[in-house]
Subunit: 321 residues, 2 copies
């Protein structure tokens, strides 16, 4: 994994994946007591940064592999990212999704033309099911985070951030990133290390699912005790990746942890002051930027996704807007 | 009014006003049955395009006039735009707002540092009150639309659209614009006439408040029968402007009209597919893009603002998402 792979991914996705804006608002800063800049990946094609990794991975395949097709497993955002990229490349696409994923994510994944196969998150092993389907049909498995081309694709967020932070006059700041398996965090960390070394990634995870924070603190990969139980469905992965953890161990600061209520409050503040729609897991980094107590005056948060059921969003508004 | 004034306004606001993205989504296109590109001015500083006109007008004042201060009357978005620009220029600012404006708009206008004076939309004449306050305190009145520098500022949306449409390969399309007094529509029309003449402005207004559509159809300025009664509070102006109407008469296509329910449906679709927050008046153009029956395969809609009370937004989600 190096900067050249991220730059190559950026070149392959030009014109297909959006350069998302870096948003801020005086009234958000006033509410937070610090300056917060938000990289709005919820405005990305398919509604999350996963469109980047999906495009990077599918576009890196041989024509022959593409014609056989791809398979991915995902709570929803990686699913949509891969499905979108596969459709654009004319590649058949099978998506393995947990049966409790938000309906909007399942519906959208199907709408992008993918074949959706549901599994039970609590009792079935998605890796095993995915490997079997891949073998049966000759599909290439596109992992959600522990894949070099996926990490390279997500790292393009870091290339953009380096430029946008410079334009905003920010040379030194923590970059809070919503973290599941760490693909986005690792990709951004690699890009920033090369392009804007004063910007340091800090992962943001839901309380009870802080495997990355505990792994970074202990130096050894830790697992979460549970696999469900937070509204931040997009980032409930069991443990850091083989590829992502060493990168973050080398380049990231301490991990941060947020509660579900803090994620909902972040969604409400993003609604009021930035006018963007965030899903709970996509709001974890903004929640950390708002509520963590060891942050400097200026921080950057990557708002990773906005694919949320209307009822969940309405709850955030009712309780906190 | 000419292109040079719009270009000068763009130069004055560089670094202070955001270049908003042109968003689209395959699933929105599928829902609409046509390609829709949305210029997301809800992501503008202060949550609406009014930050442009406000900045343009305040920055064009003499230092002496700025030190005396400015006054504006507005249902909320022009208020915030002017208040934001005045604060950044160190100019005192009085804002005259209808007492039934959304609470979030009143609160935000105060948070930008402006003095807010409330009036009754049904029984009091805001122009008369504004003129009296301006005379008493030596304030410069910044009108919401019928002011050359305000029109020039709003016209910068058109400069960006000309570039963004070219990047997207769109040479010919209607550009639907939410329309109150016509300042934004006129500014965009002037910019596009010079830079992208295949893009033709068509105004979008709420049913019952379609003074511009009727004026364009008849060739004579028409007034609305009522001053309240649509949820599209941002665009309930009584009649086209002295400056804006002749520009639109020369350059715009026929006006479009949308119902309140269509605006709410557009808000819900923007939530689901674009992950942006629109207010009802800011969604009128997208509603026209979705539901008008005389449109070609590719259209552009300017989503003008996203300052909406949570309860109104929740209603849109509950009924239509």
């Amino acid at each position: 994994m190096n900067l050249a792979m991220i730059e190559a991914a950026a070149a392959r996705m030009a014109g297909h994946v959006r350069r998302t804006p870096l948003l801020n608002a005086p009234l958000l800063d006033a509410a937070a007591g610090r300056r917060i800049f938000v990289k709005a990946e919820c405005l990305q094609v398919t509604g999350s940064f996963k469109a980047r990794g999906g495009w990077s991975a599918v576009s890196a395949l041989s024509a022959e592999a593409r014609s056989r097709g791809v398979i991915a497993y995902s709570s929803g955002n990686h699913a949509q990212g891969v499905a979108h990229a596969a459709a654009a490349h004319g590649a058949p696409c099978v998506i393995l999704m947990p049966s409790d994923a938000p309906q909007v994510k399942i519906a959208n994944t199907r709408a992008y033309g993918a074949e959706v196969v549901l599994y039970d998150r609590a009792t079935q092993d998605r890796d095993a099911i995915g490997a079997r389907l891949a073998a049966e049909r000759g599909l290439t498995l596109i992992k959600p985070f522990d894949d070099p081309q996926v990490i390279a694709g997500q790292g393009t967020v870091g290339l953009e951030l380096a430029d946008q932070a410079a334009e905003a006059g920010i040379a030194k700041a923590p970059v809070l990133v919503c973290c599941g398996g760490g693909g986005l965090s690792a990709g951004i960390a690699l890009a920033l290390d090369a392009r804007a070394p004063g910007l340091i990634v800090r992962t943001a995870e839901p309380a009870g699912f802080d495997d990355m924070a505990r792994s970074l603190a202990s130096g050894v990969r830790q697992r979460n005790a549970a696999s469900t139980g937070s509204i931040c469905d997009a980032i409930l992965t069991p443990s850091p990746g083989d590829l992502t953890f060493p990168i973050l161990q080398r380049l990231a600061g301490p991990g941060t942890v947020v509660t579900d209520d803090q994620a909902l409050r972040a969604m409400a503040l993003a609604f009021t002051h930035l006018r963007v729609v965030l899903e709970p897991g996509g709001a974890a980094a903004l929640a950390a930027a708002l509520f963590a107590d060891d942050l400097p005056d200026t921080v950057i948060a990557v708002a990773t996704g906005g694919n949320v059921d209307p009822a969940t969003f309405a709850t955030a508004l009712e309780r906190f807007a």
